[in-house]
């Protein structure tokens, strides 16, 4: 067993974990943060995407021991005081989800993408989300939502 301390969605945790415990299992099974789903066994789908020290990673392919001392943001930590993040709001308004399974990963990957490129072209959104698969929407509304969120974020944070 190894001892880790990690901050998840603004709360500090200290835990004993087995080295083989995957970050996504730590989040879901240990912390009860089931907002982060598991969609594949091959690191392809991106459903499990979280932010590790601010950058997107696939939490199914990171060990919990590797994030000792780090800061994690899951979908459960992106709203503040009950107010949705602009990306969440735009996904809702543009109907960017159907079953919703890919959505937590899509939202976090989009937040990461918008940090680098506050005004992404359609092509840039498609490139930026290439690691996130959606089996329902056909992506068009997702692209629209990300660009709408970008616009809103540019207005609200000048």
């Amino acid at each position: 067993m190894a001892r880790i301390s990690v901050e998840v969605d603004g709360i500090a945790y200290e835990d004993e974990v087995e080295p083989r415990l995957l970050l996504v299992h730590y989040l879901r099974d240990r912390l009860g943060k089931t907002g982060t789903p598991i969609g594949c066994d091959t690191t392809n789908c991106g459903a499990c995407t979280v932010l590790l020290d601010g950058r997107s990673v696939k939490s199914c392919s990171v060990l919990a021991v590797q994030v000792d001392g780090c800061d994690i943001t899951t979908i459960e930590g992106v709203s503040s005081d009950g107010v949705w993040h602009p990306v969440q709001k735009a996904f809702h308004e543009e109907h960017a989800l159907q079953c919703g399974y890919c959505t937590p990963g899509m939202v976090l990957a989009s937040i990461d993408l918008l940090k680098d490129d506050p005004d992404p072209s359609e092509e840039a959104v498609r490139q930026g989300l290439e690691g996130n698969l959606c089996r329902c929407t056909g992506y068009c509304n997702i692209v629209r939502a990300v660009r709408r969120a970008a616009q809103e974020m540019r207005v609200t944070t000048p």
Binding site: P19, R20, Q66, D112, E130, G131
Partner: protein, 291 residues
């Protein structure tokens, strides 16, 4: 699936890493970004008994300009490589190829050295390492040695690294003025591995090709240097209408491409010829204004 159990070590210096690695037994593995290793563990295709996580060894990370070459530390992430102004200026082919690796989340974790040490012929960086004659810097508890790229890739997923050796970094020679670069990758879906990839560097003077380097991805159990193309392209006219097409016809010579769901060997050979032509034309058009 849940990976099988292993012992985990997280050294903070290279000396400590070498010591731990030397004592951790034959089935121990270095863990860098984990973007090849952890998927294998999850599928229970690999069973290391111990993992030596080098992710926090500061000496292994970062890009440095060393005069005649650029040194890229083994644990520099793909994302850091793509963003590095030194890499973009002095070895743009590395930046171009790395930007096509996987997807942003994988590039945030996966490392330059891990991609090379993994020695996957379908990986994009081994062919670039061959084409640019990179030199691998390796350390073990008994000392340092360097391995030229041409001697590093031995077989499918097999490199020249010996038990107990850690790849510390890679030297990328600067090619000097007059070179243009391109990485041409053919794949079926956005984040997929290359069905075939071509790394090309072209040096020209006044529209005449002086020198060409070509590395091929996924055309055999190791990355391949297309020596036939390199010889045939010397002295020909650059650009789409010149004789680069005839030179590119040599691309499949001496290759032994795999058969899988995505392509049979004959189709891969066809792709190698077509993509090599595209890569040479683009490389000669995109000459960098280097000094």
């Amino acid at each position: 699936m849940i990976p099988a159990s292993f012992d985990y070590f997280r050294p903070s210096t290279l000396d400590e890493a070498l010591e731990v690695f030397a004592g951790a037994g034959e089935e121990a593995k270095v863990l860098a970004g984990g973007q090849s290793l952890l998927p294998l563990l999850r599928l229970r295709l690999a069973y290391p008994t111990a993992m030596v996580d080098v992710g926090r060894v500061a000496e292994l990370r970062g890009v440095a300009d060393r005069g005649d070459h650029v040194h890229i530390g083994a644990t520099t992430t793909h994302d850091e490589v793509v963003r590095s102004p030194i890499v973009r200026e002095h070895c743009p082919l590395v930046a171009l190829a790395t930007a096509t690796v996987a997807d942003p989340a994988v590039r945030h974790r996966g490392t330059f050295g891990g991609s090379l040490a993994h020695a996957d012929p379908a990986g994009d960086l081994p062919a670039v390492a061959l084409a640019l004659d990179m030199v691998f810097v390796v350390r073990s508890s008994t000392g340092d040695r360097t391995i030229p790229a041409a001697d590093f890739f031995l077989d499918y997923l097999e490199s020249a690294l010996q038990p107990g050796e850690i790849l510390t970094g890679v030297r990328v020679p600067k090619l000097g003025p007059g070179w243009g670069f391109h990485y041409e990758k053919f794949h079926r879906t956005a984040q997929a591995w290359a069905t075939v990839g071509v790394a090309a560097a072209v040096r020209q003077t006044n529209g005449t090709v002086e020198e060409v380097r070509v590395g091929l991805t996924n055309m055999g159990p190791t990355p391949v240097r297309a020596a036939g193309v390199e010889a045939a392209a010397r002295g020909v006219e650059a650009g789409r209408n010149g004789s680069l097409r005839q030179a590119a016809e040599q691309a499949a010579e001496g290759t032994d491409p795999p058969a899988d769901l995505h392509a049979q060997p004959d189709y891969r050979k066809h792709l190698a010829r077509v993509l090599t032509h595209r890569a040479l034309v683009s490389a000669s058009a995109h000459r960098s204004p280097q000094t």
